[in-house]
Amino acid sequence: MKLKLRIWRQAGPNATGQMVDYHLDGVSEDMSFLEMLDMLNEQLTAENKEPVAFDHDCREGICGMCGVVINGVAHGGSATTTCQLHMRSFADNATIEIEPWRAGAFPVIKDLAVDRTALDRIIASGGYISSNTGAAPDAHATPAPKREADRAFDNATCIGCGACVAACPNSSGMLFTSAKITHLAMLPQGQPERYRRVKAMVAQHDAEGFGNCTNIGECSQVCPKGIPLESISQLNRDLVKSLFKGDGK
C-alpha cells in the first residue's frame, strides 16, 4: 500500500504546531496502525529527521496508552484502540490525517503525545474502595448478584485512554468518571463510600477543566471498551441522591 500521511507536529508544550505531509510506500495491510507509524519513523531516522512522538505501550488494546485522532475520529472510529486498528481498514493511496487528542485538560507534550494525568487525579479524588491490605473478609462472605457484578465489570473495563474526552465537543470526561462510579456502585463493597465518591469525583472532574456532558454520545461511540452512555445517567442519578445525603462535601 501507498499512503499520504498528514501528521500534527509540535516540538513541545508551548510550541506552535502544524500538519506536515509524509509519503509512505510498501505498507502491508497486516500491519497495525502503530507499526505503520514505526515504519514512518524508521524512514525519518534514515533521513536524519526527528521521528514522530506518539504514546503507546502494550499494543494489545488494554493499557490505554495509545490514542490519536485519525481522520477526525478518536482511535479511527472502529471502536477499538489505535494499536488494534490494522491497515487493512484503509484503502491504497489513502490520505490519513493524524492528530493528538485535543482537549484543554490534555495539554500536548510533543507531536501526538498528550498529558492525561488529570484522569489519575479524578481517580485519586475518590475512585476506590477504602480497604487496607490485610483487612478483607473471606471473598465469599458477601455474595454479589451476577447481573450487578457483570455491570460492574462492563464499566471496570475502561482503559483510561481518554478517547471519550477527545471525541466530546465539550471535552467532557464524564464517560470516564461515570465508568468508575458505576463499577464501584454496582458492588456491595462499594456501597459505604458510594455517595461521597460521586461528589468528590465530579468535583475533581470539573476542577481539571473538563467540560460538562450534554448527552451527545460521541464518547460512547469511540470508546474501545464500549462503555455505555447510561453510565453517565447512573452518575447523574447517584449525584442527585448524594445531594440529599449529608456525607462528604
Partner: protein, 665 residues
C-alpha cells in the same frame, strides 16, 4: 569439557544460600519468619522512606501497602500513568488455594503443582509461602472491588489452567490482569491522595545508588524533558517486570525493559537463572518482518479449544474445515492423555515447534535459514479449534467465556475464529529468571528488594498459567510489607547528600551514557539493532538450545554490541521528550543481558522447564534434568565490562517434595 567452556565464558564463585528462611517444617517457615522479623513502630515509619520502581501488580501493591503502613513512599514508572503497567495485559486468571470447588485443592497441592510445573528448579520455601498467601489475595481483591466472574448465586467462578487438575483459577473474563491492576492502582491513588505515596510517572530509572554497601537511591531520567535526577531513601524496591523484550518480538509491552535490574546487577545484585524464559504456546503467529510485538491468546482457551495439525503434510494447505476428523492429529491429547491440551506451557510450546519442524505446521510458509545455510519453507502455526466447544455449549456460551479474546483475534488477523480455527504459535512471554533474592526478597545488595517478575524466586524453570498475577500480588501485598520492616528497623540511615561521591558517580554515569549514545550519530536505527539481537536470541537461545548454537550466539552478540556503540543513530537531543533515546538505553542493556542469558544457558547442560538443551532429552524427546549436577540456582555476579561473569550456586534443597521426572501423560 565443562571446565573448558567455564574457563572461556565464566568464572567460578563461592556457593551462596538463602539465610532468611527459618529451618522449621515447611508449613511453619513463613509464620516463624514473620515473628522473627523485627518491626518498626507506626510512629517511626513516618521517618523512613522507600523508593519503589514500577507500578504493576508487585510495585503498585507494595507502594499502596507500604503507604498504608505509614512509610514515605516514592513510586516511579516509565508510563504516563501507574495504571498502564504491563500486568494489565494478563488475560486468563489468578490461582488461589481456596478449594471453593471441593476438588481436593489445598495449599500443599498448589505448592506441589507449582514446584513440579517449575520442573524442580524453584526454591521450596518461597513457593510454599506463595501458596499460603494466595487465598488472602482473592479476599483482598474482592474487598477492593475487583469484579471477578461470578455465578448466579453470587459466588466466585473458577476455571482450570495448564499443569493442574483442579479448578483454582479466579478470573475476570479475559481481562484478569487489568482488573487486578486497576484494583491495586485505585489503592495506590488513594495513598497518593493521602500523601503517603509520591508518584513520579514518565520517570525511567537509569542507575542505582549504593552508599556504604547499601542501596540508598536511584537516578532517573525525566522522560518529558530529559532531566537526570537523583532520589535517595532508606531502601529501594525494584518491581520492574521481566526482560522478554531482549527477543525484540515478545508479548511484553513495547516499553518493558531490563534497565532497572541490569543497572542494579552491574552495581552488585546477582542475576538468578537468566536463561529461564517462558515461551507461551498460544500466541498469534508472526505476520511479517515489520511486526513490532506478538499477541497472546490466553491459556484459558485451552480449557475448551483443541489443538491439532493435519496428520499428513499434504493437508496443511487445505481449508481446515475440509479436513475430516480422522485426518487430524490432536497431538497433545495423543501424547499426554492425562492432561491433554492442558499440559504446562513449555511442553505445549515445544510440541508445537516439533509439529512444524516435521512439516505439519499450518498457515503461510516463511523462509527459514537452516543450520547448514540452506533455506527451507516452513509453516509456523497450529490450529486451536473451538468447533467441538461451540457444538457442545453453543456459540453464545463460548462468546461469554472468551468473547473478548475472539474479538481480538479477529481484529488482528482478519479471520473469524467462530468459523475458522485459530492459528497459534509459541512466543516469548515471561522470564522466570531475574535478580536473585533471599526469602525476604532482598537481593545481594543490602536494602535492595526485588518483587514480582523482576526477581527469580518462585517459578523455577517454568511458570504455570495464572501464577504470575498470584506472585506479583503476593510479593506486593503480603510478602515485602512483612519482610522489609526487618531491614528498616535499623534505619533511618544517615542522610545522603546530593554531593555524596556515590550519588555524583551515579548521576555522572547516567549523563555520560546519554551523551555517548547521542554522539555516535551512526547509520543504523536502534530498532534495527534490536531486531538483530532478537533474531540471534530466538534462533540460539529460544525454544531449543545447543552448545554450538549458544557459543555462536555469544560471539554474534559481542560483535553486534561493538557495532552498536559505533553505528547506532539516535536522533534528537537529551533535553526533550525523545523516544529514540529511551529505546537506545534499553537496547544497550539488552545487549549485555542477552550475552549473560546465553552463558547461563550454555553452562546449564541439562533440560529443565523452559530451558531445553537438545543434548539432554529422553528417548521420547522430553526434557531431561540432571539433578546430580544442576540442582541449584545459578546466581551470576557482574565482574566488570569485558570480564567473565562469576557463577555462584545456591543449592536447592527439597524437604517437603520428592524430586521426580515430570510426567503429564
Amino acid at each position: 569439557m565443562l571446565t573448558d567452556i567455564a574457563n572461556q565464558f565464566w568464572a567460578e564463585g563461592e556457593d551462596i544460600a538463602d539465610s532468611k528462611a527459618p529451618h522449621v517444617d515447611i508449613d511453619k517457615v513463613w509464620k516463624t519468619r514473620q515473628f522473627s522479623a523485627r518491626l518498626v513502630n507506626p510512629a517511626n515509619r513516618r521517618k523512613l522512606s522507600v523508593i519503589i520502581v514500577g507500578t504493576g501488580l508487585a510495585g503498585g501493591a507494595a507502594a499502596a501497602t507500604l503507604g498504608e503502613a505509614g512509610y514515605n513512599v516514592l513510586n516511579f514508572c516509565y508510563q504516563d500513568s501507574p495504571r498502564r503497567a504491563h500486568s494489565i495485559a494478563a488475560q486468563g486468571g489468578i490461582n488461589a488455594a481456596k478449594n471453593y470447588r471441593n476438588d481436593n485443592d489445598s495449599v500443599h497441592r498448589l505448592f506441589y503443582d507449582t514446584v513440579k510445573g517449575g520442573d524442580y528448579r524453584a526454591r521450596e520455601t518461597n513457593v510454599y509461602r506463595l501458596a499460603e498467601v494466595s487465598a488472602a489475595i482473592i479476599d483482598q481483591c474482592v474487598a477492593q472491588g475487583v469484579p471477578f466472574a461470578r455465578e448466579y448465586g453470587g459466588l466466585l467462578d473458577t476455571r482450570s489452567f495448564g499443569g493442574v487438575q483442579v479448578q483454582r483459577t479466579f478470573y475476570a473474563r479475559g481481562q484478569t490482569g487489568q482488573q487486578l491492576l486497576i484494583g491495586a492502582y485505585q489503592q495506590l491513588e488513594r495513598q497518593i491522595q493521602a500523601g503517603t505515596v509520591k508518584m513520579y510517572a514518565r520517570h525511567e530509572m537509569v542507575e542505582l545508588i549504593v552508599v556504604d554497601g547499601r542501596a540508598r537511591g536511584i537516578v532517573t531520567r525525566n522522560m518529558l524533558n530529559g532531566k537526570i535526577e537523583s532520589w535517595t531513601a532508606d531502601a529501594v524496591v525494584l518491581a520492574t517486570g521481566g526482560y522478554g523484550n531482549v527477543f525484540f518480538l515478545s508479548t511484553n509491552a513495547m516499553g518493558c525493559n531490563a534497565t532497572a535490574i541490569w543497572r542494579a546487577h552491574r552495581k552488585g545484585a546477582y542475576f538468578g537463572n537468566p536463561c529461564y524464559t517462558q515461551i507461551h504456546p498460544t500466541c498469534i503467529p508472526v505476520h511479517g518482518d515489520t511486526q513490532s510485538k506478538l499477541t497472546l491468546m490466553s491459556e484459558s482457551l485451552r480449557n475448551d479449544g483443541r489443538i491439532w495439525v493435519p496428520k499428513k503434510a499434504e493437508d496443511c494447505t487445505k481449508d481446515p474445515r475440509q479436513i475430516p476428523e480422522e485426518a487430524r492429529d490432536y497431538y497433545l491429547e495423543r501424547i499426554y492423555p492425562a492432561f491433554g491440551n492442558l499440559v504446562p506451557r513449555d511442553i505445549a510450546s515445544r510440541q508445537a515447534k516439533n509439529m512444524c519442524d516435521e512439516g505439519r505446521g499450518v498457515g503461510p510458509a516463511v523462509a527459514e535459514k537452516q543450520a547448514d545455510g540452506s533455506v527451507k519453507q516452513v509453516r509456523r502455526g497450529v490450529y486451536l479449534d473451538f468447533s467441538d466447544a461451540i457444538n457442545r455449549m453453543g456459540q453464545e456460551a463460548v462468546a461469554n467465556k472468551y468473547g473478548n479474546l475472539f474479538d481480538m483475534y479477529q481484529q488482528i488477523t482478519g479471520e473469524n475464529p467462530y468459523e475458522v480455527p485459530m492459528r497459534i504459535y509459541p512466543a516469548v512471554h515471561y522470564t522466570m529468571g531475574g535478580l536473585w533474592v533471599d526469602y525476604d526478597l532482598q537481593s545481594s545488595i543490602s536494602g535492595l528488594y526485588v518483587c514480582g517478575e523482576a526477581n527469580f524466586s518462585d517459578h523455577g524453570a517454568n511458570r504455570l498459567g495464572a501464577s504470575a498475577l498470584m506472585q506479583g500480588l503476593a510479593d506486593g501485598y503480603f510478602v515485602l510489607p512483612n519482610t522489609i520492616n526487618d531491614y528498616l528497623a535499623d534505619g533511618p540511615f544517615r542522610p545522603v547528600p546530593a554531593n555524596d561521591p556515590a550519588v555524583v558517580e551515579a548521576v555522572n554515569s547516567a549523563t555520560e551514557r546519554v551523551k555517548r549514545l547521542l554522539s555516535i550519530q551512526g547509520t543504523k536505527s536502534v530498532d534495527a539493532f534490536h531486531k538483530e539481537l532478537g533474531q540471534i536470541m530466538w534462533e540460539y537461545c529460544g525454544m531449543e538450545r545447543t552448545e554450538a548454537g549458544l557459543k555462536k550466539a555469544i560471539g554474534l552478540i559481542r560483535e553486534l554490541r561493538e557495532d552498536y556503540w559505533k553505528n547506532v543513530r539516535v536522533t534528537g537531543v537529551s533535553e526533550d521528550f525523545n523516544q529514540a533515546l529511551e529505546r537506545a538505553g534499553r537496547v544497550a542493556d539488552f545487549m549485555e543481558l542477552g550475552e549473560l542469558m546465553c552463558i547461563d544457558a550454555l553452562h546449564r547442560e541439562e533440560s529443565c522447564g523452559g530451558h531445553f538443551r537438545a543434548e539432554s532429552q529422553t528417548e521420547e524427546g522430553e526434557a531431561m534434568r540432571h539433578d546430580d549436577k544442576f540442582l541449584y540456582v545459578a546466581a551470576w555476579e557482574w565482574a566488570g565490562e569485558g570480564s567473565k561473569p562469576i557463577l555462584h550456586r545456591e543449592p536447592l534443597v527439597y524437604k517437603a517434595i520428592e524430586l521426580k521426572q515430570r510426567s503429564y501423560k
